[in-house]
Amino acid sequence: MARLDVKKTYKLYIGGAFPRSESGRTSVVNDAQGNLLANAAKASRKDARDAVIAARKAFGGWSSATAYNRGQVLYRIAEVLEGRRDQFVAELRATEGITAAKATTYVDAAIDRIVWYAGWADKITQVVSTANPVAGPFFNLSSPEPTGVVAVVAPRGPLLGLVSVVAPVIATGNTCVVIASEAHPLTAITLGEVMATSDLPGGVVNMLTGSVAEIAPWLASHMDVNGIDLTGVADPELAAALETASADNLKRVRRAPEVAVDWLATPGIDRLTDWLETKTVWHPIGV
């Protein structure tokens, strides 16, 4: 007997749940041949607002979790992603029309990237903290602290780019609101499903799918967002406008890259240090 297709509805990922867009809007996602693949939610500014509230709520717990624990949770995401490897390979092939070998390369690289950042979670502090020599009877110690709620505009590309910008933000104890690549909403939400089942507290990562030009300005001007990563903003005019809007509350801004990024290459630690603030403590040396 012929079986009916079980079609999947791709929603948003906010605060650990998968709500539809507040606006009720959806957009059609086609596969590489132009056939209907699925409908994805088209987020509005109010979804972005809700996501920031969820991220802010999650920040206290996530930032005060031990770095070791955050590393474990990241590793767990990699574990669960590994278990869903075939699903991601199939999704990538359907949306991109690429070969199985190529899709597997990207999915493997994405899993490895998470493991790479998971390892950094409890090591970055040692690398970027210092004991500073000062001319006085003080210990002078600088140590990094997470920036806060970070808005991330994910780069074009189905999975690897997304993972490469989100993992460093949460590894350092920040929480984030991610605008997925407009062309690839499906893998972003499937990645959200992975995160929702990986001991990652709800709200640490929030995924929005929809128009970058529509949502990003609201996040850039949002007074409760502490940083914004413009990696995925392709339009230079939009990037400039977002930088300007970000100045209102002195957000940290990571500017859009000037040359195309090779996501397969091993990254440096700059994506980790971008979302860290340095706290310096002066402590009198006892008598």
């Binding site: 607002r49 920031v52 802010r56 609201w218 001007s221 949002h222 007074m223 409760d224 967002v225 809007a245 209102d248």
Partner: protein
Amino acid sequence: MQPYAGSVTTTSATTGSAGDFDDITSSESSLRRFLHGLPGVDQVGAEARAAGLGTRSIKTTAKNFAIDLAIRMVDLTTLEGQDTPGKVRALASKAMRPDPADATCPRAAAVCVYPDMVATAKQTLGSSGVKVAAVATAFPSGRAALDIKLADTRDAVEAGADEIDMVIDRGAFLSGRYLQVFDEIVAVREACATPDGGSAHLKVIFETGELQTYDNVRRASWLAMMAGAHFIKTSTGKVQPAATLPVTLIMLEAVRDFRDQTGQMIGVKPAGGIRSSKDAIKYLVMVNEIAGPDWLDPDWFRFGASTLLNDLLMQRTKMTTGRYSGPDYFTLD
């Protein structure tokens, strides 16, 4: 003159039907007959109506109006064992100038505190126009002898409270001793008298979360209105569920019907659990639709709240600046 200082009295009212309360309240049995003779509340209907009114879309200029009105209606409340004079002073300052960055922001209606903090609040508020409300009568349980409740009330009035929030004796109400509840409200109302011949305004708290049924809410509303309450208030905020839309709807119907019968206007105050601007606007829509636009005034409708004000201010800032604001920019209470 504040209109609600007006002629809300019980048995001495000039209108014909108000005089009828004498007959109703002359004995336990006649009072019970009256209260139980009130039409029953259609629970499903009330909840559906409240939910339906909650779906109205209030945008742009209407939203601006609603947010400013809601700020003017807030009874900024702190009722914790850990309240200190410093905290009450900070709260009073906030009530006078909710958004220090924006001079056009209206002030709150009142500050609501325990009786021992009334003098502190009064001192800070001075003649700013922000009222001081005090919870009295063995708040929040209401379980004390009548003379203790009256002393509690007089204490607060002497300290300068403009408004008294009393709790009814739910135990007496639920066991059907309506006349006892009625007499208590009348007695507290008398204790609200100030030396200059005026009277502190009396808000009667039902604690609807403990009244079990909507019928009981309607009965309590009529009981309190006949006993001379200026305001009827849903809850103390110490019991869950606190204020809900259907309960407030029933109380709004009661004050509407009461005015139709007697010509006297009574205020309504939902308290507890109203935390977002969206919720507040739902209540305002309901006030307008059920009781009527006459009640859209801080003299006739209040919100008992603490966290609500910050959300209203954030929404207000969003409307004026065009960008989302955050809790970092408003005081923690």
